[in-house]
């Protein structure tokens, strides 16, 4: 177990290094970062000043090492637009994003897991059919469209919930649902097929044959094993949700990291963009590291299979 975790940790560090290369490269994409950072009509003198300020005349690898050593210490530079360290801005807005993603994920799990299980237990019933239509629609509906429809119906027509902003629990409902819908569909699908697979296993049949009560068989024997792949999905799904938050926050004017990022891109505030991409990627890597540990705890066979490769 321990060597596996150590190796897994090493991999995460490598991945973060890779992320840093891409984040660094983002600024150098056009060859000359000043062209990206300054408006087109910038004076020649300003361009020169900025070049000197950012040390852009050094060789690229020197710049990268400098970038990395600062980034490791959490220093991504100062946001051009807000004149505040980029990291400070992220920490100000991250709670709102985490709140939204957590709510979206929780909503997805609360609806999808029971739905998937019931659909599997009552296979080919009306409930199953309703669930699978829901899954199909949920997977096909883009989050920005669903968001607009939700605003149209629940905020504009019915006036039940606020259309934008972050002000109390009521304002969380629509964005969390819009964000979580896609994950909801995927998790429900996973839960259903996972449950069907487990229900067909020998030990479930044996348990039934020796007279264990159906309730126990379903919830103790089957559900526990069907939960294993779900744990991984939750980790990956969190990344999907963080990405989806960019759009959801834009639609619902939710003051989170996603909206901050979109704003930063359009105002050429690339230090802030770099910081946000790096932080979200780090968050994703950490969450998946934790999920993998939970996973090895739930299913000890994993370690063997993985370390053999």
């Amino acid at each position: 177990m321990f060597p596996y975790l150590l190796r897994r940790l090493g991999q995460s560090v490598l991945v973060l290094l890779g992320v840093s290369v891409i984040v660094f490269g983002l600024l150098h994409l056009t060859g000359d970062p000043t062209r990206l950072l300054l408006p087109l009509e910038a004076r020649e003198e300003d361009v020169r000043q900025l070049r000197a300020l950012l040390g852009l005349d050094d060789p690229l690898w020197v710049q990268y090492v400098r970038f990395l050593s600062r980034a490791v210490r959490g220093d991504f530079g100062v946001s051009f637009k807000h004149q505040v360290p980029a990291l400070t801005l992220i920490f100000q807005t991250l709670p709102a994003t985490l709140e939204l993603t957590a709510a979206g994920l929780a909503l997805a799990l609360v609806v999808a897991v029971p739905a998937g299980i019931v659909a599997a237990l009552r296979r080919n019933s009306l409930i199953d059919a309703v669930c699978s239509v829901g899954v199909l629609l949920g997977q096909a509906m883009p989050v920005y469209w669903l968001g607009l429809l939700l605003i149209l119906v629940f905020a504009v027509k019915l006036g039940w919930l606020p259309a934008a902003g972050r002000d109390g629990l009521a304002s969380l409902v629509l964005p969390a649902f819009a964000l979580g819908a896609f994950s909801m569909a995927r998790i429900a699908r996973m839960a259903r097929s996972g449950m069907l697979e487990v229900l067909a296993q020998d030990y479930v049949r044996t348990a039934r044959a020796v007279g264990v009560r159906t309730f126990l068989v379903t919830y103790k024997y089957a559900l526990k094993n069907a939960a294993i792949p779900l744990v991984t999905i939750v980790g990956l799904e969190f990344g999907v949700l963080l990405g989806g938050a960019v759009i959801t926050e834009t639609i619902f004017a939710w003051p989170g990291v996603g909206r901050l990022a979109v704003d930063a891109i359009f105002s050429r505030d690339y230090p802030l963009v770099q910081a946000i991409v790096a932080m979200l990627a780090t968050l994703f890597v950490l969450i998946n590291l934790v999920m993998d540990m939970v996973y090895t705890y739930l299913d000890p066979r994993i370690v063997f299979v993985r370390s053999r490769r």
């Binding site: 199909l136 509906m141 607009l148 149209l152 792949p229 990405g243 963009v273 990627a281 998946n288």
Partner: protein, 295 residues
């Protein structure tokens, strides 16, 4: 990173008759819808009632024809500049499907090549490629894409390139996993023993056997790319106006949600129908070609 992760596990093999009929109904439905939408997009110049860019300011914000103020010549209404929504949707389909198909093709080429190399050579090549895959999985792709498109300028080509560059990992992962098992099979060692070189071995013996999951992933990725493209458009970084795209139409409609619901509703419906059809087709392909596949 999460090597055991599949996005959705395949159904356990269904009881023969009953479900196979339902599946094929779904497939036929998906295919029909897709052919209609694809046909409409291809034939847009012939069948669209209006020029999609033509502004008729006297007929601004007219509702669909079945509503009180609707006009018969604008079946789905007009937008805030008096442009015909139906015509714009027809033309927008060209961008959505065209960009989606190109991006999938490109990301498939990149992903399959790297996946083949990783799975076939193993060792350091594999470790390196898989770490790169992990990097791309960790980075929020929408933000990366926005940053890149903004830096390079939002042209059609840049949008396609960025979409492919951020999604190839899906192909690489599945192909690698498949190749890992294929390369251990006897016909591969046989071909190797006969003195085939690596390239030939890969292209003639390994690749054809890994084709099934590639086709399935390509279909499901097409659905994803269509959503992706319109998301970029929606955020203002897709293909630029005046070319009509579904994402732009939605983004325009956003400002009129309270007063003119049809602006955002119909393009969204077009996206949903297209994605739904592609997904149905993909599901059916997966269940038919390889029921144990977890994509």
């Amino acid at each position: 990173m999460n090597e055991a992760a599949g996005v959705a596990a395949a159904d356990v093999r269904p009881a023969p008759g009953a479900i196979r009929r339902r599946l094929s109904f779904r497939a036929v439905f998906g295919l029909t819808v897709l052919v209609c939408i694809g046909g409409a997009a291809v034939l847009a110049p012939q069948i669209a009632p209006w020029d999609p860019a033509r502004q008729m300011l006297l007929k601004r914000l007219r509702p669909p024809m079945w509503e009180a103020r609707g006009l018969r010549e604008h079946p789905l209404g007009t937008d805030h500049l008096g442009r015909d929504i139906l015509s714009r949707i027809l033309y927008g389909g060209r961008i959505s499907l065209g960009v989606g198909l190109s991006a999938v093709t490109l990301s498939c080429l990149i992903g399959v090549t790297l996946g083949l190399l990783a799975g076939f050579h193993g060792g350091r090549t594999d470790a390196f490629i898989m770490r790169v895959v992990d990097v791309f999985l960790a980075i929020p792709y929408i933000l990366l894409a926005m940053g890149v498109v903004f830096a390079l300028g939002p042209s059609l080509l840049n949008v396609i390139l960025v979409m492919a560059m951020t999604r190839w990992v899906q192909f690489a992962r599945i192909v690698r996993a498949d190749v890992l098992s294929i390369r251990e099979r006897e016909f591969v060692s046989g071909a190797r023993a006969r003195g085939n070189r690596s390239t030939r071995l890969l292209l003639r013996h390994v690749l054809p056997n890994a084709l099934t999951p590639i086709i399935v992933v390509a279909t499901l990725e097409l659905a994803f790319m269509i959503i992706y493209e319109s998301a970029l458009s929606f955020l203002g970084l897709g293909v630029q106006p005046p070319t009509p795209t579904w994402g732009w139409m939605l983004s325009d409609g956003r400002n009129y949600v309270a007063t003119a619901w049809w602006l955002a509703t119909f393009p969204g419906l077009a996206i949903m129908l297209t994605v739904l059809a592609v997904n149905l087709l993909g599901d059916w392909l997966r269940d038919t070609l390889d029921p144990r596949l977890t994509v």
